[in-house]
């Protein structure tokens, strides 16, 4: 694992296969919370934080328990336990983050409001966990190698990169939608449809990065 590999992982997660625009993960907040730039930014920060923690914790559980041969039990633990384990980790982390913010940073807690608990059902978080472990793309599984410590580092790195990519897409989208409010859009296209079409155009722009890796 060297710095070039890490850069490849980051560049891939932020631009080439952006979680929102290329992998279609986390679309609910992407459409629901992008009416104002401040909210989009707050949501992006919270998601990035949970992605990092969830990525590391789920990888640890994967390496210690789920991975083939990690625990001597004659059953395919990965297949059976993966989904409930990951979702419980994510739900718990979101709850912890919520409690911490409420106690220590009440201003941010108030600003995020309902969107904080809803991070639990954000499929981008679950997506990070799956892409770190069982559905890992080549560059991630190669960088992680066999060592647990390397894997943990790569999982955290990938989580942060994915979060940055998510935040970038959120900010771009909210900038566009603030302008769209004043645009003259044909009646049936108003609201959601035109937002999706804008997302499509943004996704097309992000496709320009494909050749760079």
């Amino acid at each position: 694992m060297d710095i070039a590999t890490l850069m490849t992982i980051s560049f891939s997660a932020i631009f080439v296969s952006n979680f929102v625009l290329a992998r279609f993960l986390g679309l609910c907040p992407f459409i629901g919370v992008t009416k104002k730039i401040e909210n989009a930014l707050g949501m992006g920060a919270a998601v990035t934080f949970v992605m990092f923690l969830a990525g590391v914790v789920t990888y640890l559980l994967y390496g210690l328990i789920l991975k083939e041969g990690a625990v001597w039990i004659d059953a395919d633990l990965e297949l059976v336990l993966r989904t409930p384990m990951y979702i419980l980790v994510i739900a718990t982390l979101v709850q912890l983050v919520e409690m911490f913010l409420r106690a220590r940073v009440p201003a941010l807690y108030d600003a995020l409001g309902i969107y904080l608990p809803l991070i639990t059902t954000n499929c981008a978080i679950m997506g990070v966990a799956l892409l770190n472990t069982t559905d890992a793309p080549v560059e991630i599984s190669e960088a992680a190698g066999a060592s647990l410590a390397h894997g943990l580092f790569v999982a955290g790195w990938h989580g942060i990169s994915a979060g940055i990519g998510f935040t970038l897409a959120m900010i771009l989208m909210s900038g566009i939608r603030e302008r769209l409010d004043m645009a003259d859009v044909p009646a049936p296209l108003k609201g959601m449809p035109v937002a999706f079409i804008c997302a499509g155009l943004m996704s097309m722009a992000f496709f320009g990065f494909t050749g760079m890796l």
Partner: protein, 218 residues
């Protein structure tokens, strides 16, 4: 976005209580369609609709999970403590998702590969938890199951429409059978790729709005 959506939705659910079965189906599958009207569960809509066959498989999987989880959640609705209900529901949904995943892996290996991580991601599909929160919580088991299946049918309908469209335009095929000959129809890869999915869904929702005679859905 289940809870955020609940504001408007809970009112319609209360209105439904008197109508029962048929009304429930119509409301859930058409006039309150999860994808086109409520904009829930769109991640998988965009990700798996590159081919119509993938759409059908995903739609069936969702019907099973949504119907089954609504039924079980409703059965347990009186004995589930309010404070831990979300985690309890997540556990129920997780079990059903694993069953679907296992069945796909055992009998339809290729489909399982084509759908990739998106089968596992049904667990975070807002549609399933959304129905559990908004409907199964307050209704008897059978009616809840009907509601879950009908909601998922509306979802599957949208999936199949987008899947057919993207497959036809992008690959010139319908369900794997070549319809538009490659000799005179150049493949439009754009529709298979990510941007095409967003734009196809955008226009589909616009069409849906137009048909329902409404203008802005905010």
């Amino acid at each position: 976005m289940a809870e955020a959506q609940c504001g408007g939705e809970c009112a319609t659910v209360k209105g439904l209580m008197s109508g029962k079965g048929r009304e429930t189906v119509k409301e859930a599958a058409w006039s309150n369609n999860v994808v086109a009207v409520q904009i829930l569960g769109i991640c998988s809509v965009l990700a798996v609709t590159t081919r119509a066959s993938n759409s059908i498989a995903m739609g069936l999987a969702l019907m099973f999970v949504a119907g089954g989880s609504s039924f079980i959640i409703s059965l347990l609705r009186d004995i589930t403590p309010k404070r831990i209900r979300i985690i309890a529901k997540m556990a129920i949904i997780a079990v059903l998702v694993i069953i679907v995943d296992q069945i796909l892996k055992a009998f339809y290996w290729e489909m399982s590969l084509a759908l990739g991580p998106y089968v596992g991601l049904i667990i975070t599909n807002c549609l399933v938890l959304g129905r559990g929160e908004a409907f199964a919580q307050h209704n008897p088991p059978l009616l809840s199951a009907v509601d879950g299946i009908a909601t998922a049918t509306g979802y599957a309908g949208v999936l199949v429409v987008i899947g057919l469209f993207r497959e036809l335009v992008g690959a010139g095929e319908i369900l794997g059978i070549t319809v538009l000959s490659p000799e005179w129809y150049p493949r439009n890869q754009f529709m298979i790729l990510a941007p095409g999915a967003f734009i196809a869904l955008g226009f589909l929702i616009a069409l849906f709005n137009h048909m329902r005679g409404e203008t802005a859905v905010e």
